[in-house]
Subunit: 526 residues, 2 copies
């Protein structure tokens, strides 16, 4: 079988490099048939040049263009649903149903349609007008955006179809998508759908380009290239930090979602009140998709003593009874076992699991560890090692003061949850812990596990470093996620016929604008 | 005279270090009487600890507290106006009137009052509510903010009174101000006013702290300290880049305003139509305050040939006739002459000026250089060296294509202006140049020099790297400048009595909120 081509300048071109790779079927642990290229720098550079030319062509483009593309793309994806879910299943071992077909695919097309609505509406651009000073400003496209997707969502965070892609397009940017090498054929199928939608919408053919893999050094050159506007990355902390350094040095915006252990605090009253249902809820959240979620509950903080011990026992029982899922790749299994080793060496006690096996292909037994609050406080770095997968660390703290100290030692996370009882006996504890947890997490949750990430304007799928690179931005939720791929553009004393449509006096489509310190959908009366 | 104390934890404490410095009177070039400390690390660290404790105390604080402080501080500054303008004049040589007393001081108190209004109102926090999903989010304070001010605005960008300070406080953050060592006594006087306002408002005494100078290494330690939320810096590119690297490595937000040559394009028709008034306008903008503005017009792009030459001659005449101002410091003069040397070595032609002297104290003759468009395009890096002060480089381009090439070679800048004629003969040229210039600058201006920076919600005093570190943020303009010092805080399923005031159903003060995708000042009906 010949090597799969890359998508550059609207054409599927044979890659010029000799290096190739295969994805691996995680269930059989055998390589899959298709062979994909590692693109050499010249190929990456030609994609950058083409994207840059497309961005120039699109200056001042009608925002309807991007809306049309996004909607048409969503429909193209739906038309290819069967092939997509089957291919993604082969490459990731994620269940066809409900996960891929009934949850992730609709989420992906839903995101694209929300992005389309935002692009069409234009309110995301925060048109701000000072009529007296004759100054007007707006968010405009940043320039070509590089999207580097993760392994764990072959659709919803895919570099050519996921949240970063949708946000970058909604603000009007051409995208260079770097596929995740563990699901390249899924990415090919999505890219085929995207190309069709690009041509249908009449966008420049280079509006969406796809490469599969580069050398590490070429990846760094890509994100720091002068003609790149910015980058969206979801993946490991190691890769993220290397890309961040490259981009930061040349002042290129880069948005990273890197790692998170998503602390869950269970207060004594809640344990007393509903231990078994909490154990069910936790087990289901922690083991779903083999635990391979950015918001997987990887650390649970509990009161030491009888109630905590009973919860540990309840979860142990459930972990042992639950089926063991297949992981996305050998690298995920290895990373899991390496992380476990760090935590055990630091003194963590293995309650159950802790070794490979128990299921099909790449897998590790459902794993639970415990540490005391004192141990955690003495070695917070080791005990916050992310165990990406179907495992979690329970911290058993002696009293509220120690719980608070544990919370204060936490790094930045995407989410933090607190479970409290419904009668008020935990309220004083909540009031002490919540303000401290608040500053450590992007999303503070009550009485609910963190694994559901609603695509809502109020969502924050972000958080303090090292969960992301900047605590002011979210990767999920429209319009906020779109702002990441835009720059602030001010027009001072610019003659009215030269202003962008959203900044003119007339507002025929009723865009929300901030005029003279008030939000309004009205036109400006001259 | 004893060494001036530092302001830590609400007290003026003797510095523990032995290293000291004096500011210099730029007019006499003699050291001023007061002696100021270079703070050792232990002192910086105690300020960080105190600021961090203050931030903890202030979690969930009533926003009225910050509004009261900012207003009271503005009044305190006004009560000290005479001493402030006299001291600032001695330390900076900027004119008492109109500059310091009639322009910069009122601008400073105006900024503080606008920040107070924003803090009180609360709309800046972009409260976003999804009633169906039970998800609500808001911007919250980032944690203690370090502000490092520049030399050129002793009030309006002062670390303890300027725009960054006002923005950091409006979002509720304690501030550690690092004074600029060229105007330390001005900073002392401001800090005294601030402390009085802090106590009057009932804020924690460590809410505003001031140090004067640190070693370079301790400055880096400060911005990357785990208990610091973020940093605002205005100053040189060299210092800014070092701080940026330190902060970036640990994922701490840092907002930098570093350098800008603020290109001004004068199209042929405009030259034809109003050459002399343009020469007046340019001269006044370029020489005002000895040219020591972030938005000084340091590069002018003109058509080569008769019209361009006539403009060069008109400006030469005015530069030679205009008085030579005193610069802020010996370092500014040296930097100016060094930059000039780079440009001359690269082939720039000196039209007038180019050497020290012509005025009182630290000064350089009003300086004008020319280069051809071809020269610029061949060596764009050298010809974009910032000549900070009363000088400018004119680029004489052969035709529109060469003008466009020059614009495409520009680095990121705060501003870019285009002058065109009023009859339409320049319109085609404008339409070709403006889109390219647009992507290079934060603020695009028509028919007006860049040196006025209105404090308006629509202002962007920011721009692409290296003018700043991120093209999505502005240092001037409320509410946008406040967002820099805030993090996005999402509340998911949080019980209603635990929500921050701005996210509750009731909206008694009519804050603008984004509820279910609509902006409204109404309460949510239950």
């Amino acid at each position: 079988m010949s090597v799969r081509p890359v998508l550059i300048r609207g054409e599927w071109m044979p890659s010029t490099d000799v290096k190739t790779f295969h994805a691996v079927n995680p269930t059989t642990t055998e390589p899959l048939a298709d062979e994909f290229p590692v693109s050499p720098w010249a190929e990456v550079e030609s994609a950058i040049e083409a994207a840059s030319a497309a961005a120039v062509t699109l200056r001042g483009a009608n925002r309807e263009l991007f809306a049309t593309f996004l909607e048409s793309y969503a429909a193209q994806i739906e038309a290819r649903a069967d092939a997509l879910v089957e291919t993604a299943h082969l490459e990731t071992a994620l269940a066809i149903s409900p996960r891929l077909r009934d949850v992730e695919l609709p989420r992906t097309t839903g995101q694209l349609r929300q992005a389309a609505a935002a692009a069409r509406d234009g309110s995301w651009a925060v048109a701000t007008i000072d009529t007296a000073a004759k100054i007007r400003s707006i968010y405009e496209p940043l320039g070509p955006v590089v999207v580097i997707g993760p392994n764990n969502f072959p659709f919803a965070f895919n570099s050519v179809a996921g949240g970063d892609f949708a946000a970058a397009v909604a603000s009007g940017n051409p995208v260079i998508a770097k596929a995740h090498p563990s699901h390249p054929l899924t990415t090919t199928l999505l890219a085929e759908a995207a190309l069709e939608a690009v041509l249908e919408a009449g966008l420049p053919p280079a509006f969406v380009q796809v490469i599969y893999r580069t050398s590490r050094e070429d990846g760094l050159r890509l994100v720091r290239h002068p003609k790149i506007g910015g980058t969206g990355f979801t993946g490991s902390r190691t890769a993220g930090m290397a890309l961040k350094e490259a981009a930061d040095r040349v002042g290129k915006p880069i948005y990273l979602e890197m790692s998170s252990i998503n602390p869950v605090v269970v207060l004594p009253g809640a344990l007393e009140e509903r231990r078994d249902s909490l154990a069910d809820e936790f087990t289901s959240s922690c083991l779903m998709g083999s635990g391979q979620f950015c918001t997987n509950p990887g650390l649970v903080l509990l009161p030491a003593g009888k109630r905590g011990d009973a919860f540990v026992a309840a979860v142990k029982k459930r972990f042992e009874a639950a089926p063991v899922g297949t992981m996305l790749a050998e690298g995920v299994r290895k990373g899991f076992l390496d992380a476990l080793e760090i935590i055990r060496k630091a003194g963590g006690t293995l309650v159950t699991g802790g070794e490979g096996g128990g299921g099909k292909g790449f897998c590790v037994r459902n794993t639970l560890l415990t540490v005391s609050g004192k141990q955690f406080v003495e070695n917070p770095h080791a005990f916050q090692t992310e165990v990406f997968g179907n495992g979690s660390v329970f911290v058993l703290a002696e009293g509220l003061d120690e719980m608070l100290t544990v919370v204060e030692r936490l790094e930045g996370n995407l989410t933090g949850c607190i479970y409290s009882d419904t009668k008020g006996s935990d309220d004083a504890a909540y009031d002490r812990l919540a303000p401290a947890l608040r500053t450590k997490v992007g999303r503070l949750i009550n009485d609910k596990m963190p694994t559901g990430v609603a695509v809502s304007p109020a969502m924050n799928h972000g958080g303090p470093f090292p969960a992301t690179g900047h605590p002011g931005f979210t990767a999920v939720g429209i319009p906020a996620s779109i702002h990441r791929f835009a720059r602030l553009a001010c027009y001072d004393n610019v003659r009215s016929h030269r202003l962008p449509a959203l900044l003119r006096d007339e507002n025929p489509t009723g865009v929300w604008r901030f005029i003279d310190k008030q939000w309004t959908r009205e036109s400006i009366k001259s």
